[in-house]
Symmetry: C2
Subunit: 322 residues, 2 copies
Amino acid sequence: MNILVTSAGRRVKVIEYFKDELSKINGRVITTDCDENAPAIYFADGYEIVPRIDDPDYINIILDICEKYEIKALLSLIDPELELLANNKPIFDERGIELILSHATYIDISFDKYETYEYFSNKDIQSVPTYRDLAQVRSKLQESELSYPLVVKPAKGSASLGLFIVENENELLEAYHKFEGQIIQPFYKDKEFGIDVYIDMLSGELVDMFIKEKIRMRAGETDKSISIHNEKIETLIKKMIQETEFVGPIDVDCFEYEGKYYISEINPRFGGGYPHAYELGCNFMEYIVENLKGNKNKPYEGFKYKDNYVMMKYDHIKLIKE
Amino acid sequence: MNILVTSAGRRVKVIEYFKDELSKINGRVITTDCDENAPAIYFADGYEIVPRIDDPDYINIILDICEKYEIKALLSLIDPELELLANNKPIFDERGIELILSHATYIDISFDKYETYEYFSNKDIQSVPTYRDLAQVRSKLQESELSYPLVVKPAKGSASLGLFIVENENELLEAYHKFEGQIIQPFYKDKEFGIDVYIDMLSGELVDMFIKEKIRMRAGETDKSISIHNEKIETLIKKMIQETEFVGPIDVDCFEYEGKYYISEINPRFGGGYPHAYELGCNFMEYIVENLKGNKNKPYEGFKYKDNYVMMKYDHIKLIKE
């Protein structure tokens, strides 16, 4: 069984974990990237340099690679490619290639923070209140249902691009009009958590979750986290999985504010902090392989990792001759 | 012979290289950091958690650590500590502990971009023209000796904090008045280079240099570089070393603009990209050990590394129980 990981980039660990898991069954992991200087491709059993995902030939080239390497299933590690793959699912289905990916509906919901909030609040899943209507925010400010500071950011943004923390009406207006499609949220971030979740691709049931608190650093580094057991977050995630149809590996961001927990974002792919989960025994690669073999994984039975383990990231290097 | 590396942070590779080199002579590398989540400390032969460098007891605590571990020499990996160490040199001298560090005069010059420029232009070393007087910039703009875009940034800044690329008078004024001590430079960055240089601590002569071009990436990642041989840069660095008294390992930033080369900055310590140099044979740890043994290193004889090798950084992880 061979798996293709597209847009592998710098995600060396994810590739190594797949390689380890697949080697147990004589399978291989193959990678692609548009950049020959993407370190992760060199850690796979094979790699191909491909055009950028906006190239009209991109999907055909990926299909050719799938044929060449007898690929059983594929997944991508970057957001912009998820929608593209999901929209082309029929073409992959036709050729018997599985996408390790949620349905396009859920990818669309997860990429728009306003839609995420709307969907979740309809299902009574606690998530960070999100507004796109300035008049509504003003009236809530007047009625003291909202207060400064507020967060203004793009509905479809990533990282902190276009994000402003505003302290008054003037700043709010400036930030809101800076870009189109800005949303407004209360600043709900006493603590920040990342939760790695695996949902069975056959049964749709929760299989495993790993909760880590992100440790905020002086210099703005966010690459340290600590494993924790938190039953309130566990309950929130369980409810979310019941009320949605995400499948495979997903990454959930969650804030703690005044003792309550709010989902802030879903990334329907392996999160950047996943190595923390894996190193403490949450082996999603094993669950993927089981699913691809046609077997359901055992449903979730509670935290199976040790808490209070800190993960620190540091730079490793790889040299290649150009 | 034991060496202490302070503020080790995430610089795991530098610690590993010292450990390798010192193990050949039964020496040890010891590390400190104020943060127990600094991954590099765990790769040394021993480590101590210390207060922040602004703690009034900091130097005394470092001296105690030097005594405890029979430290022969020490170096720091972060800028703010260099000045502190250099200013306390007599105290270290008294105890027979060597600082692997340039003289305080040169550290001061290198931390102020205006002073760097002034010093270099007096010595006829080509560096990026730097102004702090707005009237002077305006008159040069009028006489077409300068043109937009211009770079406005703090004289004593690091990374891109407070840096603005300005396209017109309004933007120039706003950026210049945003912070105190802003300097103004032409935008001279067709290509960007980092040069790792070792200057003998005994003879003051150039021992080795490694030139890498920084590869600019789509997503703003600067963690890829390619080794190159460039005789113009080599000549510029040789002249700079002759005209200054930096010693030990330093890191020089240099821009190419319209075929000419300009020094933009000196970091009088191991640069973040040093692993590229080491992995291609420029072993500064060996030079340091030779110097500490009382031996001069062989003077520079030209490029001894292979060109066209790309270094890519990627994340490795370290888990610790809290």
